[in-house]
Symmetry: C2
Subunit: 112 residues, 2 copies
């Protein structure tokens, strides 16, 4: 393994287990949104959306920024890195051909 500290990915894995939360992440990848704006896109109550956002925040997949009486929810793509890194271990099993490429990426990473 190269230089990755495994930043406790449990919160992220937990957050990703729910399809609504994954959809929220896709939404937020297009634009930062208030809770109200997120709610408009789903058929569930604001309380339910709020719970999802809390779990996403606990998993470090989004951040929340107060702005007056609104709270802006922003995607934190870095949070997904821990998941991607955990997963990358298995790349060698599903496609040997990509392994050389992966090594090249890790090498580039370590030279940052």
């Amino acid at each position: 393994m190269i230089g990755f500290g495994h930043h406790e990915a449990q919160g992220a894995f937990r957050a990703l287990a729910d399809p609504t939360r994954r959809d929220i992440l896709l939404l937020l990848s297009e634009d930062d949104m208030t809770i109200g704006e997120v709610v408009e896109r789903f058929d569930i109550t604001r309380a339910a959306v709020k719970k999802h956002l809390t779990i996403l925040e606990e998993g470090a997949l989004i951040s929340v920024h107060a702005s007056g009486r609104e709270r802006i929810n922003r995607l934190e793509p870095l949070g997904l890195k821990s998941v991607a890194e955990w997963l990358s271990y298995f790349n060698q099993f599903w496609d040997k051909r990509l392994q050389a490429l992966r090594v090249a990426i890790e090498k580039e990473e370590s030279e940052k």
Copy 2:
């Protein structure tokens, strides 16, 4: 998006949400194992391990092969691909530098 049919990743995401199940996947990446062999590595009952293996199988992350009175559990790395693909959409957000490389990989995939 290129040629990925989104192979219903929900089962895989659900399976990955539990840390014991992720550990089981790491175990099975080293070697195929019977339930009994898996149980030896954890401090939970065989019934609990069996439940985890069932969920992993439902998520297409492992396959089970009867062999006499034993049942061999085998890692199915392809099952992780749907997760990796879902995740890959976010690569552009956490590291623009990898995007060109990702495109190259997708191109190679589509030429299979």
